[in-house]
Subunit: 325 residues, 2 copies
């Protein structure tokens, strides 16, 4: 914790479709939050302005307390030293010097990290993983990201981009992934992939797809993962099949991660898991069926606890500690 | 380094088919070595006696210098605190208190670790990974094991069994694995799996399999991975196809590991790689084709340097440092 960091910090989450800023006190409590849809194709400059407006709103709610720093989570690979987003397939960013841009716009020190690494930090410091020194977070939103705490340390890797759990190949002949590879976990179970698979299923089987088609108001290309959740909870057989496939893929992926990292705890979160919490049970089954006996005996799989604030609280706490990993 | 550790240490490797003990000086130099085939089904007591005879031989070659400790690498999952082998599918051991048994037989302090973790330690301290603080070792022998150094620390996991790179699923509908799961990297590219795949191919395509069949003296069930190497180097098309499939599987698996761990270096070793060093090039291609741009740009893939002594030198050096991870 550095002296320069004031009593409050802001955590920022720039995801595939939203900008969110949360004002957090030193204990990780949320003072106020501001969320705006950014759409999938917003330009960097527009996102930064949107964010600056959010932080202005938060300043008004800070009750005169100083906001000393901001921490940002970005969906993608970040260079921790320069704060440059190296690659963000979901934001379609490549080599964007986001820390510099945001520092200038907000007039305060900014740290940048991968969004799910920020989530991991938040869940570890004050969520489902509090007190656990070996855990991994798998967050299933538009994409799939992850963070790893091992021996009480955040795994960063040689250039700060470790933990890309969504881009482990679970089937080399599987669907194309946004990253350019094929058969990644994300290409099976990320929100965009569930939506795409649903669209293809609706087109291939119009009768079975009638419920999803109705939810999408007759436009098969508008079917989303959220609609699949909704239809599954109304017992639509096609949606249930898509959910089962998603759970199977997640189980396979998480079992491999359990064998690799030997965590005490796996925390599952993100929009897809929030919409389909029953996936947690399917992942438990997958881990028990596929992980090594010595590994599966010791691991719990649970849902994230901080909900919609986990990423921003984590980013705010990381900024406070001056961490940029 | 503890005072109790004398000037020489012994490193022991108990693999699927052999017992090996190497006498090592404080700088990791090999003074003498002793290797005996144990066969695949040797009982624990017989392996321990074999080992004790090996160490007696080494004592004679120590030139009067004290042997202060032994470090063992065992193919399987080890509990680092108790020195119990929790599970070793290749040795068919389950909950074997090997440290206790070997300590009694040798009359010196013994540390036990996973065999590939010992190899990783050796390659890191005085092999291909010297001076690199983020690396991973993938060793392809009878099975496939791995070890991870991240931020200058050996990854151990919550119960000391992290790093099971051979048991990451690369195809959920792939071949059955010895671990009980399906489609693990080891079930595609481990020595036993290459042999099995070759046997099946020879039976399914007797004409194409004639070269392998001749090497196996007419017994298709006797075809091994070593024979596949030999036939491939004589340009046998079936063997070349089996090698290509093996390389493809390793490339997929290593690309996922690169995305997860963001290493600076991947070290490939083990009997299969020693027999087919051209696989290293195939893995490089797989990583370049499949890993994320920000990850593949920073990683080198090289062969192990310590060769047949890497495991025992690593285990001896770990024993010296009093490490049991």
């Amino acid at each position: 914790m550095t002296e320069a960091v004031g009593s409050l910090t802001v955590g920022v989450d720039i995801g595939g479709t939203k900008v969110e800023a949360t004002l957090v006190d030193p204990d990780g409590r949320v003072i106020a939050s501001c969320r705006r849809d950014s759409g999938a194709h917003l330009e960097v400059a527009a996102i930064v302005s949107e964010l600056a407006r959010c932080v202005d709103e938060l300043r008004e709610q800070a009750g005169g307390r100083e906001i000393g720093a901001a921490g940002m989570g970005v969906a993608g690979q970040i260079d921790p030293d320069s704060g440059v987003v190296l690659d963000s397939p979901n934001l379609r960013w490549h080599k964007v010097p986001i820390r510099e841009l945001v520092q200038e716009a907000l007039g305060m020190p900014v740290t940048v990290t991968n969004d799910v690494r920020a989530v991991t930090w938040g869940e570890w410091k004050c969520g489902a993983g509090k007190g656990v020194s070996d855990l991994l977070c798998v967050f299933v939103g538009t994409g799939i990201g992850g963070g790893v705490i091992t021996g009480g340390l955040l795994l960063t890797g040689s250039t700060g981009v470790a933990g890309e759990v969504g881009h482990t190949v679970i089937d080399p002949n599987g669907p194309l992934c946004r990253c350019g590879s094929q058969g990644c976990l994300e290409a099976h179970a990320g929100g965009w992939a569930i939506g795409l698979r649903a669209q293809q299923a609706v087109e291939a089987e119009p009768e079975a797809g009638s419920v999803l088609m109705a939810l999408a108001q007759g436009d098969s290309s508008a079917v989303t993962a959220a609609m699949v959740s909704q239809a599954a909870h109304a017992d639509d057989p096609l949606a249930l099949r898509l959910v089962a496939e998603t759970g199977e893929a997640l189980g396979v992926g998480v079992a491999s991660l359990v064998n690799l990292f030997n965590p005490r705890l796996v925390i599952l979160g993100g929009g897809v898991i929030e919409g389909l919490p029953e996936l947690i049970g399917t992942v438990v089954e997958g881990v028990q069926a596929r992980a090594l006996p010595s590994h599966r005996a010791e691991v719990d799989v649970v849902g994230a606890k901080l909900g919609r604030y986990s990423g921003t609280v984590g980013a705010a706490l990381m900024a406070r500690e001056g961490l940029t990993g």
